[in-house]
């Protein structure tokens, strides 16, 4: 097949604004494409050479493209740059420049799709010290044999500017019409796409084997399944009504959603956008190898930054430190992660995507050996709004975004690639960020584990309520303590240890160790949130809820100058909460 045919089709597609017309043009192109290269043509129409999850991009910088164009045309780089400034489109500039090229070549050969594809592939895979030069001369080679029109689309393709506006769904429509016998077959073809994320492979199978081939299409390890997405509602009542009065409510962890593909010792993690991100999380890969008992599995989990010493969740932003090519070992140590599993799509030969959610969840529970670092997402089965709300507030306070409420109905299948009402997110509409530090009273402590065995893992902290002369708990804080702090804490607190909760301390949480309210420390938090378990300002803002500090961090200051009664008061916390309350912009 001549590349000119594709360029011709691109030109027509580009000229239309009507989706139906675009589909027709695509149908024509696909029908005229030899079946053995239809996958390549599909990738090319989307400006790619592989499905996204393979992670191979052509990646030619504009500068390099200009050099190649100069080489192939015999025109000066400065002249090309000048023209590009005017046109703003490297494709159009290439078209113009190739039309008036000065350099003659030996043995002109018309471009075939095969040659264009293979050359782009070579360019994408060029690596090492000579990669830039190699890319340049490969591109120049294509341009030397290209017609002006072909040059336009080649240049746009290599620089990532093809932008024909052909959506995945348009390709699926066109495939249904061209090879599936009509638009009715679209649903079947779309499912194949949703479970493989590979339009090219779907195209090749439907072109070569028809709908029969598509029916036999399976989930397969290594090909990411397009993720199921959740709708959103903002009250527990609405959510329960939508889900038939009952649902599995799960913590919506504030991390990175990952799709885990495990085949024996081989583990791949895909991001929500289906990019292979295994290299960012070598620790998560190890955790999967160790704690997933199935030989083969496709699972979904939230990868969350944690404080390994306290087990506390850390904010999403900390994962940003993992988005790097180099120094991942160090980032791994500084920003460790846990996996919270929430779905199983495939286990040991069995495709679970068409099973209802409770069944999938059970299957998941059977193959996960839970540990501190690998857990099943915390959940409850909720059937009343109050319970759901309470669970929601707990989730927020622990550092989650909110809840995902999932249908337990018979038809609660995994809707790959779709946003539907089987899953409903419940997130906060408001939040109150903390800007100032507070001075809190140490009223209790929890035993440390791991590195912190023998000292405290976290302290239970309280604000002062002068009206009742009591101390009301507001947060559990384990972060910000230096090794030195940790070593001397038990010694320092020893003289304040008491056997029971102090009568002036008001707490719903059971601490491992109780103290008399004497020591005051300075703490900075990220936010103040409603909390069903902390007693500070209980039922003041909302019935049944107190206020809590989210993501607290000890600043290192012991306020020895302050008596417990000089600590931040409950009213001050209420004021801070109200003053900073803002609607969350989506």
């Amino acid at each position: 097949m001549k590349y000119a045919e594709i360029a011709e089709a691109y030109e027509k597609i580009e000229a239309t604004t009507k989706r139906l017309e675009m589909t027709d043009l695509l149908v024509n192109l696909l029908k005229n494409t030899p079946k053995d290269i239809i996958d390549k043509v599909v990738y090319l129409t989307q400006g790619k050479i592989y499905p996204d999850f393979v992670g191979i991009e052509i990646g030619v910088a504009e500068k390099l493209a200009i050099k190649a164009l100069a080489r192939a045309s015999g025109r000066k780089e400065s002249e090309i740059e000048e023209d590009l400034k005017k046109s703003g489109d490297i494709g159009e500039t290439a078209q113009k420049i190739i039309a008036k090229k000065k350099q003659v070549t030996f043995f002109h050969q018309p471009l075939t799709v095969q040659r264009v594809y293979e050359t782009l592939d070579k360019m994408a895979k060029a690596s090492g010290s000579g990669a830039i030069d190699a890319k340049m001369s490969l591109l120049a080679g294509l341009l030397a044999d290209a017609t002006p029109k072909e040059a336009k689309y080649i240049m746009r393709t290599v620089t990532g500017n093809l932008r024909l506006g052909i959506a995945d769904m348009t390709v699926l429509d066109a495939l249904a019409i061209a090879y599936g016998g009509g638009k009715e077959s679209r649903e079947l073809i779309e499912r194949a796409y949703n479970i493989s994320s590979d339009l090219g492979r779907v195209a090749k199978i439907v072109a070569e084997k028809g709908l029969e081939g598509i029916k036999e299409f399976h989930v397969s390890i290594g090909e990411p399944i397009r993720p199921m997405l959740a709708e959103r509602l903002s009250s527990p009542e609405e959510i329960l009504e939508k889900l038939g009065g009952k649902c599995i409510a799960e913590y919506k962890y504030d991390g990175e959603r990952v799709q885990i593909h495990k085949n024996g010792e081989n583990v791949i993690l895909f991001s929500r956008r289906l990019e292979n991100i295994s290299n960012q999380y070598p620790d998560a890969v190890q955790l999967v190898k160790k704690h997933v008992k199935a030989k083969e599995a496709i699972l979904e989990a939230e990868c969350v930054a944690i404080d390994v010493d306290t087990g506390e969740l850390r904010p999403f932003q900390e994962l940003m430190h993992r988005r790097r090519k180099y120094g991942i070992e160090k980032a791994m140590e500084e920003y460790p992660v846990s996996l919270f599993m929430f779905d199983a799509l495939y286990i040991d030969g069995k495709d679970l995507t068409l099973e209802p959610y409770p069944i999938r969840r059970q299957a998941l529970e059977r193959i996960i050996e839970q540990s501190e670092r690998v857990q099943i997402a915390k959940h409850i089965i909720a059937n009343n709004a109050k319970e759901l709300e309470k669970f929601f507030l707990e989730a927020i306070e622990e550092g989650c975004e909110g809840l995902v409420c999932k249908s337990m109905a018979k038809d609660s299948v995994y809707q790959a690639g779709a946003r539907g009402w089987l899953w409903i997110k419940y997130k906060r509409d408001y939040k109150s960020e903390m800007t100032d530090t507070v001075d809190l009273v140490v009223v209790g402590a929890f035993h440390g584990r791991g590195k912190r065995a023998g000292t405290y893992g976290a302290l239970l902290l309280a604000a002062y309520n002068p009206e009742n002369d009591t101390f009301e708990t507001v947060t559990k804080c384990g972060t910000g303590f230096s090794d030195e702090d940790l070593a001397k804490l038990p010694e320092m607190m020893k003289k304040h240890v008491i056997l029971h909760k102090h009568p002036r301390v008001n707490s719903m949480i059971e601490a491992d160790v109780w103290f008399e309210p004497v020591v005051v420390i300075e703490v900075l938090g990220a936010e103040i949130t409603l909390s069903p378990i902390h007693t500070c300002a209980m039922s003041t803002i909302r019935q049944g809820s107190g206020l809590a500090i989210r993501f607290p961090r000890f600043t290192g200051n012991y306020r020895l100058d302050k008596a417990a009664e000089d600590a931040t008061t409950v009213n001050e916390i209420i004021e801070m909460y109200q003053k900073q309350l803002r609607r969350i912009a989506e």
């Binding site: 080489r71 015999g74 000066k76 000065k102 350099q103 043995f107 120049a140 080679g141 030397a144």
Partner: protein, 251 residues
């Protein structure tokens, strides 16, 4: 079986360097009497035609004709490790398709490198007739090209029965370089009819600069607006010839 031994490592390095300016993956044709390569650069603007008879080598053995494709810049990196008085030996392992490169001298090191899938494309020899034939010293020719490069990225080469003139015109500056027949640089000139053609200096200078290291005499052949052939005279029956397609100056 294929293996060879060469003690003139400088010539070997220079030859491989000259080839490397046009091709990255080079497919050599190995025959019982010669080793050859004919290849174009990816842009199809220039071509190299190389041939060495077995007599160039201290030892040369090839039992049956075959092709061997290697990454030439990788090979060059290895060859650069060989000093002037050292000896280079190459041998191809038929089973693993790996090329072994052994350098012996002050000490011995043996490198192995993979061979690549040989290109199927047979590059034909361009069928050209030339109206001008000019024999120059490579040294003088290199100098002339360097002069032209100061002002432009292309050069017009003109010939009449008396002289060869290189005209370079840049945006602001210009240069005219005249080589008189019978001068120290232009040893001989045969002109059937006056001719002129323009060539990219980036190609021309790279070719002349690198190939001159292998030879003292270069013979240029061209016609109006046709490709130029530059042959770098080699010892024995060796051959190193380049072809370069012209530029068409329209405006």
């Amino acid at each position: 079986m294929f293996q060879l031994k060469m003690s003139d490592t400088k010539l070997l390095k220079d030859m491989i360097t000259a080839i490397s300016i046009l091709v990255d993956e080079a497919t050599f044709k190995i025959e019982p009497e010669t080793i050859k390569l004919r290849a174009m650069d990816p842009s199809r603007v220039a071509m190299v035609d190389f041939q060495w008879p077995k007599t160039v080598f201290e030892e040369y053995a090839c039992t049956e004709p075959s092709k061997m494709c290697i990454n030439i810049s990788e090979m060059l990196k290895l060859l650069k490790r060989a000093g002037r008085d050292e000896v280079v030996e190459l041998s191809l392992d038929e089973k693993t398709r790996k090329l072994q490169l052994k350098i012996t001298g002050k000490y011995t090191r043996t490198f192995t490198m993979p061979t690549l899938e040989a290109s199927e494309e047979e590059v034909p020899t361009p069928k050209l007739t030339f109206n001008v034939k000019a024999k120059t010293t490579t040294n003088g020719l290199s100098q002339a090209i360097e002069d032209a490069q100061l002002v432009s990225d292309h050069v017009k080469i003109e010939a009449d029965p008396e002289k060869l003139v290189l005209n370079a015109a840049g945006d602001l500056m210009g240069a005219t370089i005249t080589l008189q027949k019978g001068s120290d640089t232009l040893l001989d000139l045969e002109v059937k009819e006056p001719s002129k053609a323009t060539f990219s200096l980036s190609y021309l200078s790279e070719i002349i600069k690198t190939a001159s290291a292998t030879s003292d005499i270069a013979t240029l052949e061209f016609s109006t607006d046709m490709p130029i052939k530059i042959d770098f005279q080699q010892a024995k029956e060796g051959k190193l010839t380049f072809y370069l397609a012209p530029r068409i100056e329209t405006e």
